[in-house]
Subunit: 91 residues, 2 copies
DNA sequence: AATCTATTTAAATAAAATTTTAAATAGGTG
DNA sequence: CACCTATTTAAAATTTTATTTAAATAGATT
């Protein structure tokens, strides 16, 4: 829950790819697991990290758990990066 | 040497702080080690990772090794982040 | 040349992150 | 209610990453 967690969570390629998948819309844990070659338990671990870092949100429906993107945390990240001179990011 | 390495390298707080230090200008390995409570060998390890990820450059002068920032790699990072909707980053 | 200073490299160790396996939970369905 | 499906949790095993310790390198100083 902070910049440090955001960077840490984004350092894993699988977790970044999960976020990319979720751009299209919400998915259940099972649907995400199908897209990647990973066991449900391992996926659950990554989803928990993403959720703790506020990069995704979850809600239950029937006996599924849906996950969806939460992009608001990226703002903090951009601010950190921009301290190194964000002049070239206009376009 | 790619987006994956950039994220991985930035996931460590010490390494991020080293980059922040280097905003002010170049520093020798020793000067950096003084700013943080870390042994020269451990620092050297982190500097190597930062260098491999193209986040810093080094050059030798006398028997010192100077390190300086290379911010160009951040562009790639911004592009990745902006796929999630960079509308709010105008200001 | 001998030695000192700054730094790196290598090997061993320690710590942290990830995966696996097995068991638990919780909500639908027959 | 007994059972199936989706998912999580917990503990152990594995893998990856970081630190320590000791030795090596390279250039400066005497």
């Amino acid at each position: 829950m902070g910049l440090a967690d955001t960077f840490k969570v984004l350092s894993d390629p699988l977790r970044r790819n999960i976020l990319v998948c979720l751009k299209e819309g919400k998915l259940t844990a099972g649907e995400i697991a199908d897209k990647f070659n990973i066991t449900p338990a391992a996926l659950s671990y990554h989803l928990k990290l993403l959720k703790n870092a506020d990069l995704i949100m979850e809600y239950k429906l029937k006996n599924y758990i849906y996950y969806e993107l939460n992009t608001s945390v990226f703002d903090e990240l951009i601010i950190w990066i921009n301290q190194f001179g964000g002049e070239n990011n206009e376009k």
